[in-house]
Symmetry: C2
């Protein structure tokens, strides 16, 4: 076909980048004017998927349009997620075109209609997911389809491999590399720094990377950051591990299993979580981290991710067998998932618990101490530093005689210098409305309370639990203390506590 | 539990409404500042689902946050979708709170895990969907789940009923009320106004409501609007039908099956379309419209919604049996889905085809004429105005002798006055690059071409097809003409045609 009308010039679809300061969580969004020439020439309408290009980088984004004066006619305004991914400067040129259709969605549709997915199909899907080409709608379709027809063993293996392949992969000099992971968020369950200290003190290599909080009041990286720098690049991590055998760093400098966080974001909204996806999520991160001996903490309880011991055993079995396919040795430990671990919930408050345990303080939370020793013991056995069934005893000894504390201090120094966790400016108790026995602690609401108080952004903020399940309490006695840096945040948290009497349930 | 710190005042979460002129298709979005007191007190983060309340009305919206000066600290800026739904005035007070959790999502999750859904569960889901409480992620999960485990007959029935119940429902004085529907978009397939004219001319009642285009170059309402007003409220519709027996109005004034458009929006993104959902979609709108005799046009072809005659028969069977449960009589007609119908694609161009057929012009598109008579004939038989197997002949007679044209003119007058469709300012051909035979016409790309030319917003814009499948064509001869009102839009369309040689494929 030939162009039949002369004089029509094709203008390149370039616009000037503008940073809008628009926070959309992870969604890359671009705003353009309805009368922008690019919208007209590309035939773009609101919610179209577009491809933004600049300086050789490409980002997929959702387009919204504005009428009127909010933008100049030749501006493309980017959300923070899009701005960071595209790496442009203010005013720089961006090309905007229709996003090419997602070929891998054909595989997702095949799965919706009941077909199994092979390795190439899963590689293609995970590649597109990691590259940010899937909108939340596409992600929801994939996750729903693999929940409706759960991933079988070959598919779980293939998904795990695809998730490893799409990111960075670390290798360490040591033959034996330890790692640990807790499946399912349990507030305050901050065992990692203690475990790392014990395990490294026994001469094993344990180069731990951890995340910041996504929706919880603290991630391991947030808590550790109140004690030492965690923002280490790969070279710095290697130096620390070379010197001390272990580290507790933020994983942000390396891209390990980048599709995982994308999946997790939508899983949380839908509240679906299937075994195959969970296994791929956990193991892909460990494999990519270069670990080959992994201890998995599986909290079990009616409101935990794993609801029964039976389910826990089944999960453990599948985890172990998929891990073995990658040359990973695993040890799965079922623990109590019915209430928070430790007393502090929030970065600095959890750090205080850690320090108390490591320093053998008499009032250190014993449940945290026990759980950390249990997991560390398993790691010691797995890594060959303790004979079978003697790991727990060795871990406790290393903690009790101060070797773990010495190692922890050394790691903090190696990471850039040990710090004192901050203390909140304000503190207020939430008290019992009646006398009786503590029969239920709502993990999710305790976490919300800590966040309203300011965690994790305000490192000193959060909640300190003063009771555990089964405790007897008198009317008017404090159940928790709320820690905050401002009267406003303290007030928000206390209002929430007042409006949510089922935060902690007392039976008369 | 008691508040232990005095002097903390709870400020009501009220902000001032601001219209942003932000187009997001159907998504209600609200923008607030990160440091806004409501974000702090409610603990709101980006992408949180919030409930906006004002003057007794409530709207669910997704929150994004902005830093800096885009908004005042006490402003809540609404997208157009949110603004329209909430019905506030600039500066009016809006309360913003966390959206309550979606109870009906528990049912969606049950379906994901393989369980059947009963009537109460589907009523709850559809109620939440129609009320705008489901985000696209939730909708994607539901639609994927009912594709992975398709809706069975009881579920299809229950879903249809739920979709009817959640909107308005019309009733007409006549005992026999005719309707028609085409399943699956085929460009140019604008039979409705001709069918309505023929059927009403034969004394049957056919109160047709139709949609505007969502993603196509023209909806029936857009096309009809170039010939007469369509924006009739219910009272006006009743007057027209009372007087002339039929109408072709825009359904926007009445809320028929409001959940349907919400589902369709996400189905399009995912490209999933399952039978149960399709049946519920079609029938819920007809039942809500008060129809009891429905002709269904099922185009069949390799790129149509229905791919084979076998599939078409199966669909027809299920449609008929579900419809019967509601006292609806249906007649399903399989038609050709391999190429566009008629010549014009775009509101005014399609209107020209309609007028040519109604006026028995010698060059009227015969395929459109034939299809309209086929469907009208089925309607006449279904409604008892023609004996079995004589409907087609009667329809053709009514068309040929001018009764249909007279009735159409009368309907237009009753709707507010007949108009002349506009003509585009510019016209340019797209010509054949080689000689040969037309072997493929890409429906989707033809539609895109029409939209780039300006359809449906520019009523005169679009595409006129000059060839059909099987035609012999000489190199350089025109295949289509593009109609546009501006050189810019004409240029965009012609550039697209030049870059998409597979728009119309010619075999040498």
């Amino acid at each position: 076909m030939t162009l039949a009308i002369p004089g029509v010039h094709e203008r390149p679809p370039t616009l000037r980048a503008r940073r809008l300061g628009l926070f959309t969580q992870h969604e890359p969004i671009v705003l353009m004017r309805t009368d922008c020439h690019v919208c007209r020439s590309e035939g773009l309408s609101p919610r179209a998927q577009v491809l933004l290009s600049s300086g050789g980088r490409q980002v997929y984004a959702t387009l919204y349009q504005v009428s009127g004066e909010l933008l100049a006619i030749d501006e493309a305004a980017l959300s923070e997620a899009a701005w960071t991914l595209l790496g442009v400067a203010e005013g720089e040129g961006i090309e905007v075109r229709h996003a090419p259709p997602l070929a891998s969605m054909a595989s997702v549709r095949r799965r919706i209609y009941g077909n199994r997915l092979d390795e190439p199909a899963l590689q293609a899907i995970v590649g597109d997911v990691a590259a940010g080409r899937y909108t939340d709608v596409h992600l929801a379709a994939f996750l729903t389809a693999t929940s409706a027809l759960p991933l079988d063993d070959p598919e779980t293996l293939a998904l795990t491999k695809a998730m490893v392949d799409v990111g960075d992969r670390l290798a360490w000099a040591s033959e034996t590399v330890l790692d640990k992971h807790c499946i399912g968020g349990l507030p305050g369950n901050r065992t990692t720094p203690i475990v790392v200290a014990i395990v490294a003190a026994c001469g094993l290599v344990i180069p731990k990377t951890s995340s910041r909080a996504i929706t919880s009041p603290a991630g391991t990286a947030d808590t550790m950051e109140t004690l030492a720098p965690v923002d280490l690049d790969l070279a710095a991590m290697r130096r620390v591990v070379e010197r001390e055998g272990g580290c507790v760093a933020w994983g942000g400098a390396v891209r390990l299993s980048p599709a995982d966080d994308v999946f997790i974001g939508v899983e949380r909204v839908l509240d679906v979580d299937t075994e195959g996806q969970l296994i791929a999520s956990v193991l892909s991160k460990k494999i990519a981290a270069g670990s080959n001996h992994v201890v998995l903490d599986i909290p079990v309880g009616p409101t935990a991710k794993v609801r029964s011991e039976e389910a826990g055993r089944r999960l453990a079995g599948r985890l172990t067998s998929v891990a073995a396919q990658f040359g990973l040795k695993t040890r799965c430990i079922q623990t109590d998932g019915t209430q928070p671990v430790g007393r502090g919930i929030g970065p600095a408050l959890e750090a205080c618990d850690l320090l108390a345990v490591l320093q053998n303080a008499p009032d250190a939370p014993q449940d945290l101490r026990r759980r950390a020793c249990l997991l560390a013991g398993a790691a010691l056995e797995l890594g060959g530093a303790a004979p079978e069934d003697q790991g727990l005893a060795l871990a406790e000894a290393v903690l009790a005689d101060g070797r773990a504390w010495a190692k922890f201090q050394a790691i903090c120094e190696a990471q850039g210098g040990m710090r004192t966790p901050p203390t909140a400016a304000l503190e207020a108790p939430v008290t019992a409305a009646r006398s009786g026995r503590i029969i239920h602690i709502n993990n999710r609401k305790i976490a919300t309370l800590a966040k309203l108080a300011g965690a994790p952004d305000v490192k000193a903020a959060g909640v300190r639990l003063l009771v555990r399940l089964g405790d007897e309490i008198a009317s008017g006695a404090p159940l928790v203390t709320v820690h905050a840096d401002s009267r406003g945040e303290l007030g928000y948290a206390l209002s929430y506590a007042a409006a949510n009497a089922d935060l902690i349930e007392i039976e008369a």
